[in-house]
Structures are given as structure tokens and as C-alpha cells.
């Protein structure tokens, strides 16, 4: 049986233009994500990125590690810990915790450029 592949760290700038494009592509019109009065009057005092856009970095890392196997057998369970205030340079990492019977389980984390933890959770993919 082969060992679980290494999952590389993914780092990406999440700025307002990216958030705006995501809002359209994902059909999420919540004004708190855009340059709107609602965002500036909201709990964070400025626009914040969609949590699912942050999670997309984790998915990207798993895709790079596993290819289509991620879509065929992957699972994840995450919680958001802090909002991603735009612009944010977000880093997603996946640390292997268990590799048993062809199922690799990773602890996944996203942090911003200040080291603030944005997201934590686990992800599993069958690789053999």
C-alpha cells in the first residue's frame, strides 16, 4: 500500500477584487463581503471575505496532493475561528495525522499574514 502524498501549503492573497469575483461566481450577494455601507456598519467595520473562499485554499491544497481522488472520496469538517479581513494573505496547510487502510486524515488550518487562525478542522481522502 502506498503512503499518503504530501499536501503542500497554499498561500494566496484574498483581496477585495477576488472577493467580488467570488460573490458573483458563488451567487452569494451578502453585502458584508463587499464595499458597502452594510459592511462598514457591520460587526467587523469593513468587508470580510467569504468563509468558503478561505476554505477554497484547503480544497486547492488537497487537489494538488490527491488530484481527482479528493473529489471522489474526500471529506472535511471545519470551523471558522476568525473572519478574513480583506486584504488578507491566507495560508492553508494540511498536516498528516493518520494514514491507515488507505485513508489519509489531515489536520487543516488557515492563517492570515498576522498569524491569526481563520479556520481549523480535519480532512480525509482515500488514496489506495
Amino acid at each position: 500500500m502506498t503512503a499518503a502524498p504530501a499536501v503542500l501549503t497554499v498561500t494566496r492573497l484574498i483581496d477585495q477584487p477576488r472577493v467580488d469575483r467570488y460573490a458573483v461566481a458563488a451567487s452569494d450577494p451578502n453585502p458584508i463581503h463587499r464595499e458597502t455601507p452594510e459592511a462598514y456598519a457591520g460587526p467587523f467595520g469593513q468587508p470580510v471575505a467569504h468563509g468558503m473562499l478561505v476554505l477554497g485554499l484547503v480544497a486547492d491544497a488537497l487537489t494538488q496532493g490527491f488530484g481527482l481522488a479528493w473529489a471522489e472520496s474526500g471529506s472535511l469538517k471545519v470551523r471558522w475561528r476568525s473572519p478574513a479581513l480583506t486584504p488578507a494573505t491566507v495560508t492553508a496547510r494540511a498536516d498528516l495525522k493518520k494514514d491507515q487502510d488507505g485513508l489519509a486524515t489531515y489536520e487543516v488550518t488557515c492563517t492570515d499574514q498576522r498569524g491569526e487562525v481563520l479556520l481549523t478542522g480535519t480532512a480525509s481522502v482515500r488514496h489506495a
Partner: protein, 141 residues
């Protein structure tokens, strides 16, 4: 936007949406360009987290979500990869609903099935609605 349901009217176990879904190559490309992911692995299949995002969009269209709602968690399990242009069906229900100290916690489950009614992907969207004026550290809008 006209919503079918008010958040306050939801009940645990309630099925609130069922709709056909077909994801095109153009939609996948627009999604990947927005997230910054490579298009190459997804020439024939739909990225699973995009399907999660589509379910969230359906939730936002159907249920009038109160201001200040926090997307606190997301769960996802792929049973197989969904193909681009494949006819799918999405069914959504309220899987959990509770209140504590004025904050409402809710979870919405979505099941994607194929033309043979076989599961393709299941997911759970967890949200928290805070009482007015309360802030917490966790969660993402």
C-alpha cells in the same frame, strides 16, 4: 430577493428545498478564476467545495437569513466526483436547531444525488445567529 421561508419559521427536520442542478464548464471556470485555483484538474468534474457553495447560495435564496448570521462550520463528504453538465438533484433540510442565551444555532444538510438517486455528495452548513449587538471571535459571515 423574495424568500420562501423566514428563519424564525424553520423547524428541525424540515425539508425546505429540492431542486435540479447542472453545473456547466463556464460556471466551474468562473468559480476557479475567482478562488485562484488551477482549472486543469477540473476540465471534466466539478470541484466539491463549489457544490458546497452552490448549496449555500440555495439556502440564501430560499431562507431569509437574519442580519449578522455567522457561518460557523462546514462539513462535506464526497461519495464520487460530480461531472460537469451531469444532471443532479439537491435536497436540503434543517438538521439541527437550538437556542442558547439568545443565540440560535442551526445546521442545514444538503444531499446531492444523481439520476439513479445514488448519493454524490453530502454536506452540512452550520450557522449561528447572535442576539443584536453581540460579537464573538469565531465564525465567518
Amino acid at each position: 430577493m423574495t424568500h420562501t421561508l423566514q428563519f424564525a419559521d424553520l423547524a428541525r427536520g424540515q425539508a425546505f428545498a429540492r431542486f435540479p442542478l447542472t453545473v456547466s464548464a463556464q460556471e466551474v471556470q468562473a468559480y476557479l478564476e475567482s478562488t485562484g485555483e488551477s482549472v486543469e484538474p477540473w476540465r471534466e468534474h466539478v470541484p466539491p467545495v463549489f457544490l458546497d457553495a452552490i448549496a449555500i447560495a440555495a439556502l440564501l435564496r430560499t431562507v431569509a437569513i437574519p442580519k449578522g448570521v455567522m457561518h460557523t462550520g462546514q462539513e462535506h463528504e464526497s461519495h464520487r466526483a460530480a461531472r460537469i453538465d451531469e444532471p443532479l438533484e439537491v435536497e436540503m433540510r434543517v438538521s439541527a436547531l437550538s437556542e442558547r442565551r439568545g443565540a440560535v444555532m442551526a445546521a442545514f444538510e444538503a444531499v446531492l444525488t444523481d439520476a439513479e438517486a445514488a448519493p454524490v455528495q453530502t454536506m452540512k452548513i452550520s450557522v449561528m445567529v447572535l442576539p443584536d449587538g453581540v460579537l464573538v471571535d469565531g465564525g465567518a459571515p
